[in-house]
């Protein structure tokens, strides 16, 4: 007998097996998650929209198809999934965490969302995020911050804090995220969950509300490496609607994750520790758990090599020129004409004045900051010095990666320099906030894939620490193998998942919170 409590704690892979065997129905699994959302999301605020009845209807439809013996059901049929609000959904508002898109229901599904539906997954709702994915704490959401399930006074990371908190609080088995400079991997680190930024072009960006088009990539968020791999297999592959989509045929990421659980998976694997992304500037407990993880990898047969990547030091500077430049252009479409908010200035005005009043009212402070910065970086007289130089740094960082991957199979860094900080702590200091993506930004600049997974709790604060592996472009599968191998070693030592050590959340009942 599987209880509702079991259903929300099962990894997606196990839930899929029970659905397929008929032991549980999709309606039961979906209802269990909706109940969990009702019970804890008042505190966590991972969701901006909950699908509710639509999710249950779709679940009932999948149950009916299964009862009829439909042979076309996907391996994850009937499993619920959460969707970051940056992704367009036909049947749910898609706000990207911004007031300017409040209530907007797109006329089409993002390709990744269409693929979820075609694979018979059940969308549970839309998850909270920093406005237009600009931030590392979810505090820049126009709809209020998401809170970290490990400590409700702390940030869940960002921009995809909603998706990470949803899986960490057992409000969804897995979720979709997007990662422009770490928005999947950094929230994974601070919530004790798993997240993957695929190779640029490996997953379609069609219908993902663009932040910085040359950096954005959609990817999976989950509690286990295998679950991310399963979701990656659903959403990945070529999309003719995205001109930057790679036409490659991809291997099964799930098979790669399963291969990581076999004996000797790490034997002979060459793992490079990036000198520039270790030690100084990192919280002591982060460095401690990271060093321990390296010892475990070595003990499992991997070879640890130090790698010098001198230009990584310039990654944040280049990123905060390239991203605002691209964002200032991408966000020009929010002009009060075709969708979203319109604010008329007192006494009316020209279309240009309406536009300016709308953008003043509809954008939050971080979005304004980055649009103005990007406009500056692209303006005549500064373009060559700033945007032009940043693009050259991008070349240098790619060369550092190329040189590194000539010597090692994967690179490894902590996923974030610190554990989860307190809400409000860095909100008024943009530069301090930008440093949270220190280790994750290089992968976006070079287009290479990265995975983040938990490696323990920092002794000083008892909060999760994450590790990041990066692989050459197109070698995403390798990350799942290494990630699953390390996950297995750690869980054997812990006697279960790290998230099973998370404190119980207070559960709201009809009469209040108990």
């Amino acid at each position: 007998m599987t209880t509702a409590n079991d259903l929300i704690h099962l990894p997606a892979a196990d839930l899929a097996e029970r659905l397929s065997s008929g032991e549980v129905s999709s309606v039961e699994a979906t209802q269990a998650h909706l109940d969990r959302i009702a019970a804890v999301d008042g505190d966590v605020h991972a969701y901006l929209h909950v699908a509710g009845d639509a999710a249950l209807e779709r679940a009932a439809e999948i149950d009916r198809l299964r009862a009829e013996g439909d042979a076309g059901l996907g391996p994850l049929a009937g499993v619920p999934v959460a969707i970051k609000d940056v992704l367009c959904t036909l049947d749910m508002p898609s706000t990207a965490g911004s007031r300017i898109l409040e209530g907007w229901v797109p006329p089409y599904d993002a390709t990744v969302v269409r693929k979820l539906r075609e694979a018979h997954l059940i969308p549970l709702g839309k998850t909270n995020m920093d406005e237009f994915a600009m931030g590392s704490s979810t505090e820049h959401s126009a709809y209020g911050p998401t809170r970290n399930p490990w400590d409700l006074d702390r940030i869940p990371g960002g921009s995809g804090g909603g998706s990470a908190a949803a899986v960490a609080a057992f409000e969804a088995p897995f979720a979709l995220g997007s990662d422009t400079g770490g928005s999947i991997r950094q929230p994974a680190a601070v919530t004790g969950s798993v997240g993957v930024k695929p190779t640029y072009g490996g997953v379609s960006r069609y219908g993902a509300i663009a932040l910085a088009s040359s950096l954005d990539q959609v990817g999976p968020v989950s509690r286990t490496v295998l679950d991310s791999a399963l979701l990656h297999d659903v959403i990945g592959g070529h999309d003719p609607r995205d001109s930057t989509s790679i036409p490659d045929v991809w291997p099964s990421m799930a098979d790669a994750a399963r291969a990581g659980r076999r004996d000797g998976a790490l034997k002979g694997m060459r793992i490079g520790v990036v000198k520039q992304l270790n030690g100084e500037g990192f919280q002591a407990g982060v460095t401690q758990r990271f060093t321990e993880a390296l010892t475990l990898l070595e003990g499992a047969g991997a070879e640890i090599v130090e790698i010098d990547a001198p230009n990584f030091e310039y990654a944040i500077a280049a990123y905060y020129l390239i991203l605002p430049a691209e964002a200032s252009s991408n966000l020009a479409k929010f002009d009060s004409v075709r969708f979203g908010l319109r604010v008329n200035p007192p006494g009316g005005g020209t279309v240009e004045q309406v536009m300016s009043a709308t953008r003043e009212a509809g954008f939050g402070p971080e979005v304004k900051r980055r649009i103005i910065l990007g406009t500056y970086a692209l303006s005549a007289g500064y373009y060559d010095a700033y945007y032009g130089s940043a693009q050259k740094v991008r070349t240098l960082i790619q060369r550092d990666f190329d040189a590194a991957f000539g010597r090692v199979d994967v690179l490894v860094t902590p996923s974030a320099p610190t554990t989860a900080f307190r809400l409000g702590e860095k909100l008024d200091d943009p530069l301090a906030m930008y440093l949270n993506d220190l280790t994750t930004i290089p992968a976006n600049l070079a287009g290479v894939p990265g995975i983040g997974l938990p490696i323990g709790l920092a002794p000083e604060d008892g909060l999760p620490v994450g590790i990041q592996f990066m692989a050459p472009a197109r070698a995403d599968a390798r990350l799942y193998t290494v990630g699953a191998a390390l996950e297995q070693i750690l869980e054997d030592r812990w006697g279960g998942s790290l998230l099973s050590q998370a404190p119980e959340l207070a559960v709201a009942t009809a009469g209040g919170t108990n």
Partner: protein, 99 residues
């Protein structure tokens, strides 16, 4: 120190079509100054011999067959608009009175 002035921020805000308040201009002037000071370090290594990269995974000649594909209907395209009339997006005057 960078030389970003309040006038410059006001001009950038005009270019970006954001009607900033005087308080916002003041705080953004200080913030942008310190951000630009920090990101300017890219010029240290961006020597003339280094080519620029605009996209991480270079692809060339991405075409699709020149056939009519799926498009939104007029109703779908207009559905999210703040205002529309006679099958078109409706906006206020393009030109001000003085023009």
């Amino acid at each position: 120190m960078s030389e970003i002035s309040a006038e410059q921020v006001a001009h950038l805000a005009h270019l970006a079509r954001i009607e900033l308040s005087p308080e916002e201009i003041e705080s953004l002037t200080a913030e942008l100054g310190s951000i630009v000071d920090n990101v300017a370090k890219v010029t240290e290594v961006a020597t003339p011999d280094v080519p620029a990269t605009s996209h991480p995974i270079p692809l060339v000649n991405v075409f699709r067959p020149d056939v009519v594909g799926e498009t939104l209907t007029q109703e779908q395209a207009l559905r999210g608009a703040p205002e529309h009339a006679e099958g078109r997006f409706k906006v206020s005057a393009i030109l001000g009175e003085e023009q």
